[in-house]
């Protein structure tokens, strides 16, 4: 099975470990990934905040590049995923489509609109049969499943899980032998793109999230968004609990005992060494 892979800027930079683990997990499951040729920025942060047309034309161009291959696109970054989906929908809107198509240089906008975009979470849920029996080292960790803002919302656009009380990541963690904790932060915002402009605000939000997760007894936070991952590590307030944050693919890698899985930890700002050592204790 083959997918087109849209890493976006962050998986090539701040979320290197997300990129490595996603590729390793897919390879381990026999899912081939091929990068979208000549991909460009999805426009999630700056364009989204400043220019409506640009914010849709940028991801629309990516869809155009993917169209025709007949393959689904996997977009691990929650923001990319959200923008690509939004572009797909806008391309179905007769009022919006012509302008976007012109700006993005799309000869066949309907074809681009038809490209299916998946998050890594969606992909893993769909391919559960491929990995469930291969869980070699049940994690045995208490994990806070963190969906953030963009993975399941807005419901009209994404809608593969309940927008206010999503459970798919929790169930996945359970399948990996972890114990997902009941915590109130599942869909709360980490501060997202304000990390540079308003670090004070992001610090406050991240501090709340970390506090909630720790109070619920989590040993680690599982995320599927590079921005969440970065903020929770980089913008934690001084006295916040030192909870490590791992991408869900890293946890899959640990549970499946994939080669190199423990090595991804060195890219983190908060060392997950303690939990990666403990992981596998659920056997």
């Amino acid at each position: 099975m083959k997918y087109l892979y849209y890493p976006g800027c962050s998986l090539h930079a701040t979320a290197k470990e997300y990129d490595l683990s996603t590729r390793a997990v897919c390879a381990g499951l026999g899912l081939a990934l091929e990068e979208v040729p000549d991909w460009n920025c999805c426009g999630a942060s700056s364009a989204h905040a400043t220019n409506h047309l640009l914010s849709l034309a940028l991801p629309a161009r990516v869809l155009g590049l993917a169209a025709g291959s007949g393959l689904d696109v996997v977009a691990p970054c929650a923001a990319c995923y959200n923008r690509l989906r939004a572009a797909g929908r806008a391309l179905c809107d007769p009022a919006e489509a012509p302008g976007i198509a012109e700006a993005a240089g799309l000869p066949r906008p309907t074809e681009a609109a038809g490209v299916r975009v998946l998050s890594v979470l969606e992909l893993l849920v769909a391919q559960r049969d491929r990995w469930l029996a291969r869980v070699r080292r049940p994690l045995g960790l208490k994990v806070a499943a963190y969906y953030g803002c963009l993975l399941v919302r807005p419901p009209g656009l994404l809608g593969f899980d309940a927008a206010e009380h999503p459970r798919s990541l929790d169930r996945l963690l359970e399948d990996l032998g972890a114990t997902p904790v009941d915590w109130p932060g599942r869909i709360d915002c980490c501060g997202g793109g304000l990390s540079i402009a308003r670090p004070d605000l992001v610090r406050e939000l991240c501090g709340r999230l970390l506090g909630w997760a720790a109070r619920a007894g989590a040993e680690v936070i599982a995320t599927a968004c590079p921005l969440c991952g970065l903020n929770l590590e980089m913008r934690r307030p001084p006295r916040a609990p030192a909870l490590p944050v791992l991408y869900l693919t890293e946890l899959v890698g640990l549970a499946l005992d994939l080669p190199g899985a423990k090595g991804w930890g060195r890219y983190h700002l908060v060392s997950p060494a303690g939990v990666t050592r403990r992981a596998g204790g659920g056997a």
Partner: protein
């Protein structure tokens, strides 16, 4: 055409339906009150308290329940739905379908013994899912009718799948309750082999079990075994389903004592036929004994069960007799056997024509097993190869292991997955070390030394069956292997042994099986039947049992001379798993013997569950069918009221009119909204209502679902499912603001120190006394109100507390923690309402409400069909009651000519004069099934009562209230010349009227009756102290007897009635009421102070919808009133004085101008004097022509001129909700919005600002608010503390502090429009003349704000229109009609009966102090100025006793509760 029918169908038994039914029944019509559910009472029955009086909902409603339930002219039909309606207004035929209730209502006494016995526990929908109830249940304790009913949801898949129809859900339910014996009874009804099947059945039931969709099926087979293990030998009770011995009984011979034969024999014997079971073997059991290995089925279990079966009456066993060999059928016929059942099985083991099959230590599988079971195992040496893939092969392999063989291999043609043996048998075999060689076909057995086999030569098998499914193996010759062996067991097939039947004309197959009809078991030879393996080939025990049942039925029919095949019953509906989330529960593994791993001996492999595990496993059952038909209720019911064979019933009712009152339901909260469904401490308002209720699931203790702790802080979130376009509920639900306020207040009463906060958008306290209630909630009770929506609810994972995020009144982002959150959910029409509307072809609006009635919402598009209550729009109780009465009035007008034609009256014998007799008291003591008798020693009570003075007769009854006991009481009264009766039973609240009626039927005055409450106040409350309860019961009976001796007859008095009404006020309400009276056939005097009719309606030009024209309505009403012959107009007159009372008034009318006084006589009074538009000092009213009122704006809009553009500033609450006028005028917000919309439609350039405090466009009026916003009206909310300032200079300005912006706005206006509100007229004079009360605000005060909204406490005087409180045109018309039908319930009586229990005055001791006059709420006491005695207007006296208590001299005594009587009771209690 014939005239109309004097019967009415009311659909819906809520408060609206009950009110309509009672009005009509009292007004001379026969009423069918049909209810969708099992009891009437509707939503109100589920409420705890009601606003704004905090009355207990049940307390104020239950008199209506009792009245509707007992009314001679109301027939309550429960569990019913309207299917269709034919005919036309006046003569309809209504077709109803009544769902089976499974309980005979004429027999059920509501004692509840059945529910006690029922093992099925369900969440109670009545308690919003928070409480539990049984499958047989009464909706709520006070339910009317007081009868139980059973909920069934189809046949559970386990029972439907079992070939023998064994009732898995039922025995699981009983086991879960620890009732193993009863569970065993249930199993045996269809499977007499409970122990055996529990061990060896292949349990197809588990494959279909709905729990299997979650964590694996319920272990039904292991539970069946547990039933036998722990329930042996069963209860020994008679099977309530068994039909018992019948006619046409003849001896039957059953050939073969296997499971099929024995089942048939048991059934036939139970039906009464003498049955003899023949078997070639000396012992019964067939293959169970011979071939099933002992490690699966121990011998003692087998013997125990077979002995039990063979010990049955009429059943005998002749072993060691092979029919056909030892005795011929002819000989048996000669012996008298009239029918034969061949249950001969498939007992012949078959071999394979294989080279080497004749070697030594090559055995046939079945024979091998037989020898082992017979205790004579053949020699087995390893390695062993078993050829075959079925269960016999696996049994042989495992048996061979136990005989000591180390290497045992099963070689079969099929692949591992396709082996016919059950997978769990294969798994256990593998566990025991048996190897499987799948996909190999034997070609030859080669010999080793001597006669012993050395190897089995095999070739690969590619496929076993051909495309058509026939056995046709295909081999791959290239694949070969040689399995070394020392023993070979061939387990490849069996055959029948029925040659003896062929001689009788029965067709026998090549394999030796019998050809018989698979449904009946009949063969070609008459009188010979067959079942089990003999017909089907080798199959499982449960299939043989199923065949046994079928053949027994056929044989029975044959012997009775009936058609062999009974009429096929339809396939029962399969029960689906319950909707909603199912809590996870993992299957309990059945423990296996550790020794089994080593397969050393024949001890039983499966150990079965222990009791506790069995109960826990049984509790996993999802109870798919709800009722499991375990029949425990049938055993428990001593009245034989349960009827599981009940079926749906079609009714055709001839009625003149139909009233729809199906009610509303709560809008379901989306799972997840505000955490509902995820966070245990987030409840809906109905759930919380049940939490608060004393009869609710927590007995009124407010506790958190998560931990049972008392909450300290509760938040109420308004508008969940209301005013929410997102969830498709854009309208306002009209009741939530007030019920949340009520719930907050009541919760605080429950928990001292509780903090409550209500988060809302607009506080819609628009009803009478609502604003005062709302103000008190915050000022006196400390309820916090926050005008904001909560943006998030988060649950603390550890404490389960809830963190709410909101923006507070100062605009600050706030987080606050609460213990509990209550969501104020909205209302929508109940599901049956939509269905019925569709069936009747009535229009519904997009939200599902009936529409089309215009200014008379209770009218539908079809004449003769009316609607009432929340089916037309969301509304609260008084509006529902009013609308129900209005609908009843409409029906009464339509059917006026048929009044009194269909009603029943009761004829009583003349009353016996007992005045000269000594007291002879009859005492009837009720056991109430087990309710009283299980606690109180009833026999002792009887003995004790016999010794009491005056007692002439005592008996105990199982149910004193049952119909047959009433007959008995009448007989005993006559037989023993009883002249006083005491019943010691449940409660007078529900049953006193029944017993009084019985006395009356027996010719005794009904007041010669006394009741002792030994259930509700004795056995129920002291159930854990039976001895002391008995002592108390004894005292209660003695007290009742002591009082009874002093009772004397109270004569019933009646008074004539003047059948006309006086209507005071000629506005909309008065004209409507007068017309309603006249059109029902009663004369009306209409008095109007002014020279012209019309009142305030003359100033109203637009209605809420463009379809209605108020001025056209006014013209029409005027003309109809003036031309109606029964209406006498008294224009320019007013009431000056009134004398008389209920039924007979004389009223003096004085002219307002010149003229003469008039005196009119009438039986009832309707007050419809209206109210006035208020003035608004302080807002510049009158100071400037640019400042006008809403009424003036309305008149401008209604005028011919062009509407002027410009800036309009509409100021709401200009004078309302102020210190001077603290109430809300209800209509102004809607009026302002309506006028704004009308203005913008006529002058699109206009700019409209509406300055408001709370926008109270309640109910569907919210749509107008939405329209106004869409048209661009600017809404500015201001605070009461900072009202807008109007400055009328050269430029007209309005300055206002905008609370949303937090800024002061200065608006330059062309027009300022003041909503000045409504104020009462000076009602004091009239109130004094009529002796009726006013509210603090000066409006007239009705008898009860909720349930008696259009009448005064003093009977005979009614109330409607603005004189009652501010209201809309449609609401006024409704009230006027309601008041009219209430008056007609009085005027239509031929004469008036006074209440029996009234007071009497001893004129000699009365000092005329007048204290009683103040105590009386009904104006029933008056002071006779001449004699100085406080007299009684007996017709008005309600018998409450307040004046008797107040009387300082004891001159006033309450009949039936006189001093002497009460003192006698006290003395008896102290004895």
């Amino acid at each position: 055409m014939a005239g109309p029918t004097g019967r009415v169908l009311v659909l819906g038994g809520g408060i609206g339906g009950m009110q309509a039914a009672l009005d009509l029944a009292e007004a001379g019509f026969y009423v069918y009150l049909a209810e969708h559910g099992p009891a009437i009472g509707g939503t109100m029955a589920r409420l705890d308290k009601t606003f704004p009086t905090n009355d207990c909902a049940m307390c104020i409603m239950s008199p209506k329940l009792v009245e509707a339930g007992r009314h001679l002219n109301i027939e309550v039909i429960t569990d019913a739905d309207l299917i269709s309606l034919a005919g036309e207004a006046g003569r309809y035929t209504a077709y109803l379908s009544r769902r089976p209730r499974y309980v005979r209502m004429d027999k059920c006494t509501g004692c509840g013994d059945c529910a006690e016995a029922c093992p099925v526990v369900q969440p109670s929908a009545f308690d919003a899912g928070l409480g539990k109830r049984k499958a047989i249940y009464k909706l709520y304790p006070q339910a009317t009718p007081n009868a139980f009913g059973i909920e069934k949801r189809g046949m559970p898949p386990c029972r439907a799948t079992c070939p023998a129809g064994c009732n898995g859900q039922a025995y699981a339910a009983l086991i879960a309750q620890g009732k193993f014996q009863e569970a065993l009874d249930v199993v045996r009804r269809r499977v007499p082999f409970a122990s055996i099947c529990g061990r060896i059945c292949h349990h197809p039931c588990e494959t279909e079990c709905n729990r299997g969709q979650y964590e694996g099926p319920v272990a039904l087979a292991a539970l069946k075994r547990a039933a036998a293990d722990f329930g042996w030998p069963g209860t020994g009770r008679a099977d309530p389903e068994a039909s018992g011995p019948q006619e046409g009984l003849q001896p039957v011979a059953v050939i073969g004592a296997g499971p099929g034969g024995l089942t048939a024999a048991m059934d036939l014997a139970a039906l009464g036929h003498p049955v003899t079971v023949f078997d070639a073997s000396g012992q019964p059991g067939g293959m169970l004994r011979q071939a099933v290995p002992r490690y699966r089925l121990p011998l003692d279990m087998l013997d125990r069960e077979l002995d039990w079966m063979l010990s049955k009456e009429r059943l005998s066993f002749r072993g060691g007799v092979k029919v056909g060999r030892d005795v011929s059928l002819a000989a048996l016929r000669a012996e008298g056997f009239a029918a034969f059942v061949a249950a001969t099985g498939f007992p012949v083991a078959r071999g394979l024509p294989l080279p080497g099959a004749d070697l030594g230590r090559v055995y046939l599988g079945l024979d091998f097993l037989r020898q082992v079971n017979a205790g004579d195992p053949p020699a087995v040496e390893g390695p062993v190869v078993v050829i075959g893939g079925g269960n016999v092969a696996v049994d042989c392999a495992r048996t061979a292991r136990r005989l000591g063989a180390q290497a045992v291999t099963v070689a079969c043609l099929e692949s591992r997955d396709m082996m016919p043996a059950h997978s769990w048998e294969i798994d256990e075999a593998l566990e025991e070390g048996v190897a499987i060689a799948a996909g190999w076909g034997p070609k030859a057995i080669t010999a080793g030394g001597g006669n012993a086999p050395a190897a089995v030569e095999c070739i690969g098998c590619v496929s076993v069956f051909d495309a058509a499914g026939r056995f046709s193996p295909v081999y791959d010759e290239t694949k070969r292997q040689s399995l070394p062996v020392a023993t070979v067991i061939l387990a490849i097939g069996q055959g029948g042994d029925n040659a003896f039947l062929a001689e009788e004309g029965v067709q026998v197959t090549r394999a030796g099986g019998v050809v018989a009809d698979p449904r009946t078991g009949a063969t070609a030879a008459p009188g010979i039947f067959a079942c089990g393996d003999a017909v089907s080939g080798p199959a499982s025990a449960v299939e043989a049992i199923a065949g046994g049942h079928r053949v027994a039925e056929t044989v029975h029919r044959y012997l009775l001379g009936l058609d062999l095949e009974a009429e096929a019953a339809g396939e029962p509906e399969r029960a689906r798993p319950p909707a909603g989330p199912v809590p996870a529960r993992r299957r309990h593994p059945v423990p296996l013997s550790p020794a089994a791993k080593h397969a050393r001996d024949f001890s039983e492999v499966s150990l079965g569950y222990d009791r506790e595990t069995a109960q826990a496993e049984a509790a996993r059952c999802l109870q798919c069918g709800v009722c499991s038909e375990c029949l425990e209720c049938v055993h428990a019911c001593q009245r034989e009221a349960v009827n599981h064979a009940d079926c749906a019933q079609d009714l055709a009712l001839e009625v003149g009119a139909v009233i729809l009152a199906p009610g509303a339901e709560s809008v379901p909260v989306a799972r997840g909204e505000y955490g509902y469904g995820y966070y245990p401490n987030v409840l809906t308002s109905q759930e919380f209502e049940r939490v608060l209720s004393a009869s609710g699931p927590f007995a009124g203790n407010v506790e958190r679902p998560s931990d049972g702790k008392e909450p300290r802080k509760i938040a109420f979130l308004q508008c969940v499912g209301s005013r929410d376009v997102g969830c498709g509920q854009p309208y306002c639900s009209a009741v939530c603001c007030m019920y949340a306020t009520k719930e907050a207040i009541i919760a605080q009463e429950h928990i001292p120190g509780l903090q409550t906060a209500i988060f809302f958008m607009d506080m819609r306290a628009y009803g009478k006394e609502f604003d005062r209630y709302y103000e008190a909630a915050s000022a006196e009770h400390g309820v916090r109100y926050h005008r904001c929506m909560v943006s998030g609810v988060r649950q603390d994972p550890l404490t389960k507390d809830l963190d709410l995020t909101y923006v507070d009144d100062g605009g600050r982002h706030t987080e606050e923690t609460f213990d509990m959150v209550v969501l104020s959910t909205g209302l929508r029409p109940a599901a049956p309402a939509r269905l019925t509307a569709g069936r009747l072809g009535l229009d519904i609006d997009p939200h599902g409400f009936l529409s089309g009635g215009g200014l008379e919402p209770w009218r539908t598009q079809r004449p003769g069909i009316y609607a009432a209550g929340t089916v037309t729009d969301p509304k609260d109780i008084p509006e529902t009651v009013v609308e129900a009465s209005a609908a009843a009035c409409a029906a009464s007008r339509l059917l006026a000519s048929a009044r009194g034609t269909q009603v029943k009256t009761k004829e009583y014998p003349p009353e016996r004069d007992v005045s000269a007799e000594d007291p002879r008291v009859g005492v009837f003591i009720c056991r109430c099934g087990r309710n009283i008798a299980n606690v109180v020693d009833v026999a002792g009570l009887v003995a004790n009562a016999r010794g009491l003075p005056g007692v002439a007769y005592v008996e105990e009854n199982l149910y004193t209230c049952s119909q047959d006991t009433q007959g008995r009481i009448r007989e005993k009264i006559e037989e023993h010349s009883l002249n006083r009766v005491v019943v010691a039973s449940c409660t007078p609240r529900t049953h006193e009227p029944l017993f009084r009626d019985t006395l009356r039927e027996a010719g005794l005055n009904p007041y010669l009756f006394e009741m002792a409450n030994i259930r509700d106040q004795c056995s129920w409350v002291h159930m854990h102290e039976p001895e002391r309860a008995t002592v108390k019961a004894r005292s209660l009976v003695a007290m009742a007897v002591a009082k009874a001796r002093l009772l004397y007859p109270i004569p019933s008095r009646s008074f004539p009635i003047n059948q006309s009404g006086l209507v005071i006020g000629g506005g909309l309400a008065g004209m409507t009421a007068a017309l309603a009276l006249a059109e029902q056939g009663y004369a009306a005097h209409l008095v109007e102070r002014e020279p012209d009719l019309g009142g305030h309606l003359r100033h109203i030009h637009t209605a809420l919808s463009d379809r209605e024209d108020p001025q056209a309505l006014l013209q029409e009403l005027r003309e109809r009133v003036r031309s109606h012959p029964l209406i006498s107009l008294h224009l320019s007159y007013q009431v000056r004085a009134q004398e008389g009372y209920l039924g007979n008034y004389r009223t003096t009318l004085a002219p307002t101008g010149p003229g003469e006084e008039r005196v009119v006589e009438h039986g009832a009074v309707i007050v419809a004097t209206g109210a006035a538009e208020a003035s608004a000092p302080g807002f510049g009213q009158g100071a400037d022509p640019r400042i006008i009122t809403q009424t003036q704006l309305e008149e401008d809009l209604g005028g011919p001129g062009e509407a002027r553009a410009g800036v309009y500033v509409l100021i709401q609450c200009a004078g309302s909700r102020s210190e001077q006028r603290p109430y809300c005028s209800r209509i102004c917000c809607t009026q302002a919005v309506k006028n704004a919309v009308a203005l913008l439609k006529r002058a699109p350039g206009a700019r409209v600002f509406i300055l408001y405090r709370d926008l109270r466009t309640y109910g569907l009026k919210e749509g107008l608010y939405e329209e106004a916003r869409r048209l661009g009206v600017t809404f500015v909310r201001y605070d009461a503390a900072e009202p807008p300032e109007v400055k009328a200079g050269k430029v007209l300005t309005v300055e206002v502090e905008d609370t949303a912006l937090g800024a002061r706005l200065v608006l330059e206006a062309d027009h300022v429009v003041l909503a000045t509100g409504i104020e009462p007229k000076d009602n004091n004079t009239l109130a004094k003349i009529l002796k009726v009360p006013l509210t603090v605000d000066g409006f007239f005060l009705e008898a009860h704000l909720k349930l008696r909204p259009v009448e005064f406490a003093a009977e005979g005087i009614y109330l409607c229109g603005l004189a009652h409180s501010p209201r809309f045109i449609a609401e006024t018309i409704a009230q006027a009609n309601a008041a009219a039908i209430r008056a007609v319930t009085l005027l239509s009586q031929p004469q008036l009966a006074a209440k029996g229990i009234t007071v009497s005055v001893n004129e000699r001791t009365c000092t005329g102090c007048g204290i009683c006059l103040e105590a009386c709420a009904y104006a029933a006491r008056e002071l006779d100025e001449e004699t100085g005695v406080a007299k009684i207007r007996e017709i008005l006296c309600q018998g409450c006793g307040a004046c008797a208590v107040a009387c300082p001299s004891g001159a006033t005594q309450q009949k039936g509760f006189e001093q002497g009587q009460v003192l006698a009771m006290v003395e008896a209690a102290l004895d």
